[in-house]
Symmetry: C3
């Protein structure tokens, strides 16, 4: 519990004074927000007369004078102009200097701006903050996007001052650790979906390759061999072949690296050996691979469901009916076909619903509410079930086509066969891995056990850094 | 790092004692939860004998005596009865008074209850907390909804005491700043989707207007001119015309204010001039407009996909087939129609999937994990792409209908033409804005640049407050 | 504001030293992460020579010596081996001992491991932390799942040290209160969806029962009476009867306990009486019931939308057309049927969209952004509207089937009638409850009012603990 008596000075305290060095766009935006939140704002400027654009209520004075007014000084100046701060060393002693700067590109300098500032003014306490907030967002007060102020620094109390300030501005402070993290924070605003790049390239590659394959097999072949123009099929029929192929292969690619890793661990007899870099990178982006696969599966679902609305389908069915009647035939019912068609649709539907469930549990707020065991259960057990159902969906769709020569045009197998290669490999390897003997060994390895005779080798191996599944 | 030795007193500390003034519903519920969390609870009451309803384990005593037992006093009393606290000034000196009160309506008093309490008992430290938690939720311990305890106050240590208490109760404390925020917190429980009001009214207005338009054009016209009763079409055919119209127009309305703002900034030559209020309000609710548009698009998708299951469609198709056969015709294939029908469906599907993606990234936990650049990329780049695809979807749906007189009934153009007006305006204006010359100027303006000769005017203008996009 | 001068020692502080007792898997993984985050790591070991597996850069020494190097000591040892710590009492005086242990099963010991540790070494400060983080996750640095470090302890400063450490490791610390919570935290990793169990059993039970019912009524009956094999209908036709039945009944089951509770409160004349245990448990899992119902509704939607793609449907329609033509008939249009079919689809679609909306607002990050009134509005008002629409959807689907003998096979009513029982009961009871007289009484009871003459009885009743709706 708190002390029974609190110092009375705090009771009628206003928010205090903040000093801002620099009268640029960000300095002005931040100053305005600080004023609105009840702070007093003092600008430090070389040319204190020229204060036209500054928000009303703020004072402007020379740097040295301004710095004496407040314990927190926000340095809203480009790194290139930091040198003048070295001359203020005495005035800045013990002050909290807030580095809010960003660079024009990643890794522009060897050390981060905040660390550079800390070296320039060694007797001040440097905190990195606000660099991930846009001036636009601050001005507008309409922070639809990220409200998080990422803060780092070596001094707890100085960080606390920034935490309080962020709260007063209606932002959410997040303590990210020591000043060493600063260069990471300075690179953040330059990131554009770094973890999504590889999966996006993979999906683009698969999309292009499969489209070309299907185009040649379905449209070009029909054009050359049968002399028929079926190019109108590109928009839906072909798209609805390519999307499920990409979705299925990418879903399988989510699970392949885990399987490769398990076999590597079995081979190495230890988990304390580094994986090859490509495997590490691949494992890092499994979640993104899965979400892209889900997007393609969603496209496939919609493309499938519009089939009966299509003009082409209406035309084809009309002519089927008409020719049946003309030939005075009835349409014979084939119970096996009914079973197959319904099973194939059922597998697809249940697989898709499970896939959506996997997608929902990867939302940050949902995965945060799961414990490790629950997350693992969903992403691994349900994940493999989804893959199994979707593979079964593709197998039932194709059925016995692979037996018939008509399934091969120009020696190219039907598209569903192509899409089944990777998923089948994954499922077979997984079946091997869950056999009791291998499963037991892997479980022991992952609990830290190591196979005898591997230790010596390991020492000379790449590193003793622990690694993962 | 922490000191090597910690005071030993803290080790066997219980949670401490909390005093509650008032034995009403909320006081009792909170007291019970505090007892369950290991606190000792002392009630301050005028009539300490009358303690039947109080949770077991709590003590009751007169206000003055009770206040001496604890450093934190929860004032579970209506604002109207605060005056008696003024008589306890001495007993309350240095205590943390927790104001948990709400008013019956918004802005009932000029100052917030917490500030009023602070004026009444100037020597105590007032913290506002718990007013957004319902007694219902506290009692039940089943907080499915918001577990956040919003806390504000001028004294950091006093707030920390409330943060600790909230944690012990299994709630999530959120520091919202100084006591000035109290009136905002007191208005919170009265809010019912404030940002959704305008978008809901807009969508209701559009819904009504478009429904009337389509009703007259499709049902009334058929009834009057052709003397046919087509009122059964209301449930699905008409709904499936109205919903996509509303969705498309509202999606366009998300992007229109940004465009208007850009032209205003170009005209003003500066971003440091306030926008008109209506534009500000409009911009504030873009996210909500977009989400409502997504809901209507979702309805449109479902209404479209059930088409082939409809009895009416079955009937119509049956009769088409029957009449084709009776007239001994076959259905001629038209490749252009196939292209058009498939393209229109494809545009719609991809547009909808992108729209869903936009919706997902506006979930709080997802948008919090994006940096500014990523959020901007999705909401602006992908947003315009979505609008473009959905507009193309509508154009391809209508095709050349606007050329034919049959598209106009009673001089009313076909509904798809009506829905295309706003989206086309937005897309044309956006095309103008991204032309290099204008784009460069706007970028410079948004980085703080101002056109010469505008400064003088500005001074006399509304305000120098910075504004947004 | 902060003091103008900060102690300069903090400026070039590294992260400090952490001591780890135990060189098992978790100790090694945590040590490596700490080293990577800039801490110095000292292992305490019985056999300091045997340090092959330890991460590079860490030192190893005997327990007593190691404990002198740091103020934070992580006890990465099984509870069974805690006794040796009792012999180090002196060395551990005033140290922060971090208990990271888990047990093999729930409730293995009477007191939690952390409390046991606290009793063994009474002069150290024990904090529970990291037990919910997996070694796997720590090693890999790929925390897709839960990054939360749940911390509990009786000493605020000690907890703060762990909060700081968690931040440095890129994890999200969450203060969960005093050491008494430790046993709860130790049970957490053993949980596998505890709140989902009951709803999953209920849905499995309903699924099985309804499937059997429909199987007998549709397939077995056709086989025995009509001697037709319709088993192919299991995959889609039957599934698409069972799923909506389960969804509707489970949606109704979400609202039934609230209604029972209201009647109980009316009967008791007070809200301060405990509900029966089964009702408490039922109410606790309403959210999960609702989400499962949504999953089944989603399945129903997909199963319905694939209808026109099914081979069986294609066959049936073809034969309908053929026989119509052969008998030289046209298909007569029935406006009432068109109305009914379209209304039934419309109700279903709007009901489903509202249901999805309910699902979205139960996402943690969304429900956290709603105030109590908003959450209540959506979950209760919109919830009942959803139930009403879905019930209307089922009623319109069945229409007048219940009047005809053909609707009953072997005296078994049509499946839609079975699914309507619970929803209709809920809706009727709700209608009774919102009648002004009852509504007023319930509102007063929930505000704390009690009916006269109930107090005496209450005292002898189960408990005076407040309860909920």
């Amino acid at each position: 519990m708190k002390p029974d008596s609190l110092p009375m000075t705090a009771l009628n305290s206003k928010q205090g004074t903040v000093c801002i060095f620099g009268t640029g766009d960000f300095g002005r935006s931040l100053g305005l927000r600080l004023l609105q939140a009840g702070y007093e704002v003092v600008y430090g400027s070389r040319n204190p007369k020229n204060s036209d654009l500054l928000p009303k209520g703020a004072k402007v004075m020379p740097h040295e004078e301004a710095s004496q007014k407040a314990s927190v000084i926000i340095v809203a100046v480009h790194r290139e102009n930091y040198e003048f701060l070295a001359s203020l060393t005495q005035a800045l002693e013990g002050k909290i200097l807030v580095d809010i700067s960003n660079n024009l590109k990643k890794h522009q300098y060897t050390e981060s701006n905040a660390e550079y500032l800390s070296m320039l003014v060694p007797r001040a306490v440097v905190v990195k903050a606000f660099n991930t907030i846009s001036a636009w967002a601050l001005q507008s007060g309409r922070l639809d996007a990220n409200r998080q102020v990422l803060i780092c620094g070596n001094h707890a109390e100085a960080k606390q001052a920034l935490v309080d300030m962020s709260h007063s501005l209606g932002l959410t402070p997040v303590d990210r650790g020591s000043l060493r993290v600063a260069s990471e924070l300075e690179d953040l605003p330059h990131q554009l979906f770094p973890l999504w790049r590889l999966p996006l390239w993979i999906s683009a590659g698969l999309l292009g390759a499969f489209f070309l394959y299907v185009l040649i097999r379905d449209v070009v072949y029909a054009g050359v061999v049968d002399n028929k123009d079926t190019s109108f099929r590109i928009m839906i029929s072909l798209a609805n072949k390519v999307f499920p192929m990409v979705a299925l292969v990418m879903l399988a690619l989510c699970y392949l690296p885990g399987i490769i890793a398990a076999f590597l661990q079995l081979y190495n007899g230890t988990k304390y050996r580094r994986f090859p870099d490509w495997l590490d990178r691949w494992m890092l982006c499994r979640k993104q691979l899965g979400l892209l696969a889900l997007a393609f599966a969603f496209l496939h679902v919609l493309y499938t469901l519009v089939i009966p609305i299509r003009y082409f389908v209406f035309y084809k069915r009309a002519n089927t009916y008409i020719s049946l009647i003309k030939e005075n035939k009835t349409y014979e019912f084939n119970a096996m076909w009914a079973w197959r068609s319904d099973s194939y649709l059922s597998m697809g539907i249940i697989g898709f619903v499970l896939f959506v469930l996997l997608g929902i549990t990867s939302l940050p707020s949902v995965s945060n509410s799961l414990n490790w065991r629950e997350f693992n259960f969903i992403q691994s057990k349900l994940g493999y079930l989804t893959l199994l159902l979707c593979t079964a969906h593709a197998v039932l769709y194709g059925w016995d086509k692979f037996l018939h020569a008509s399934g091969f045009k120009w020696w190219m197998p039907s598209s569903y066969m192509v899409s089944l290669v990777v998923p089948c490999i994954v499922l077979v390897l997984k079946t091997v891995l869950i056999m009791p003997c291998l499963d037991r060994t892997i479980t022991r390895i992952r609990q830290g056990w190591e196979r005898q005779g591997k230790r010596g080798k390991d020492k000379n191996a790449k590193s003793s850094q622990p690694l993962i599944l």
